[in-house]
């Protein structure tokens, strides 16, 4: 790994995503589910909702950075609210 100056933020970012995937895989095996229809009128599974959450969170973070500019950790709080909403209603 010498060819790249790896940093902790990068490692944390990918470890979090990888562990989310692992957790959701285990959840999927332990508690099988049927897709459901939410406010978007599309069928979603848990995995779909995770994807929508992660992609949306990326845009929330960018929007926060561009529009608010400071206090980036608060964007994470918005993301958590967004995640809860996605898992409840989508």
């Amino acid at each position: 790994m010498e060819w790249m100056a790896w940093t902790w933020p990068t490692a944390i970012f990918f470890v979090v995503i990888a562990s989310l995937l692992v957790v959701f895989t285990i959840l999927g095996i332990k508690f099988p589910e049927t897709p459901r229809k939410g406010v978007l009128q599309i069928e979603t599974t848990r995995g779909d909702r995770l994807f929508i959450t992660l992609l949306g969170s990326a845009f929330i973070n960018l929007a926060w950075l561009g529009l608010v500019g400071g206090h980036q950790p608060w964007a994470l709080a918005v993301c958590l609210v967004y995640a809860a909403a996605v898992f409840r209603w989508v």
Partner: protein, 291 residues
């Protein structure tokens, strides 16, 4: 009675693919993320005090927003031309016999030409001194010069893309049309439906699935386009045809600003991911409704 034994060893057969994907996609993606939060200078890495500096810089960069605007305009224009034109061509193609095969072969030809060759063809074709198109327009008294005039440059790259890719839309639409059973047309004839109604209520709904694929493919390709406009205009005149990829390459390899370029790539990737997801969702939902 025999019971099935559970054996999960087959999962090991997936390992080579995992290794390949990790090597070709996952680790490169990690390096991009890693570049985006550091500064590089001649092989040395420096950690940034403000880790999000490059993202901030990119979000505030007029140059990136301009390139994104041009990119959306380019993709929008070529979709607005290629999709209706492709459907129109497909509707008018012979349904069977020698001419059907002949049309299919002729339509496939542009799709087989490599991007840089297409670019070179149009670069020379459009030149006023030695190109057929440029020279003819000049002889007709039309002031045309794609190297100096923004409008001419745009017309050239759009016509080039339409020339290169309309066939793809037409071929897909043609395949959709061919799959409609005759019974539908017979029913329409009994009802004395007009040509427009046959198109609107039979052909178009039946083509919806393949058209969505065509739109998705054309959108993705045009949103990532690099070679063709780069060969023809090099992004000029000025920055008039500098689309996202062209700008990205300038930034990453021309100026060697790896940090900002990485931040730029991540945002570019997110936009593509979001739009592809929307297309994919719409497509699978159309399938479920049996279209």
């Amino acid at each position: 009675m025999q019971t099935k034994t559970v054996n999960q060893k087959a999962w090991f057969l997936v390992l080579p693919v995992l290794v390949l994907v990790a090597f070709s996609a996952v680790i490169p993606l990690m390096t991009v993320v890693n570049y985006s939060i550091q500064d590089t200078f001649g092989g040395e890495f420096f950690s940034l005090e403000d880790k999000l500096m490059w993202f901030r810089e990119m979000l505030e960069s007029q140059r990136m927003w301009d390139a994104l605007g041009r990119q959306l305009m380019f993709s929008g224009i070529i979709l607005a031309i290629e999709v209706p034109l492709g459907v129109f061509v497909a509707l008018n193609m012979p349904k069977s016999g020698f001419w059907a095969s002949f049309c299919l072969v002729m339509m496939s030809l542009p799709l087989l030409i490599p991007w840089n060759v297409v670019g070179t063809i149009w670069q020379i074709f459009g030149r006023v001194d030695i190109g057929l198109l440029g020279n003819t327009l000049d002889a007709l008294g039309i002031d045309y010069n794609y190297t100096q005039d923004t409008f001419d440059a745009w017309v050239t790259i759009i016509v080039m893309d339409v020339w290169h890719w309309t066939s793809l839309v037409a071929l897909l639409a043609y395949a959709g049309l061919k799959s409609i059973p005759d019974a539908y047309y017979q029913a329409a004839e009994i009802d004395q439906a007009s040509r427009w109604k046959v198109f609107r209520y039979i052909e178009l709904p039946k083509m919806m699935g393949v058209l969505m694929i065509a739109i998705l493919l054309r959108f993705m390709d045009s949103f990532m386009i690099y070679t063709e406009p780069f060969v023809v205009t090099g992004g000029g005149p000025g920055n008039a045809t500098t689309l996202l990829s062209i700008d990205l390459v300038k930034m990453a390899l021309g100026q060697f600003d790896l940090g900002p370029a990485a931040a730029f790539s991540i945002m570019y990737f997110l936009v593509i991911l979001a739009i592809s997801w929307v297309f994919y969702t719409v497509m699978t939902n159309l399938d479920k409704r049996g279209m």
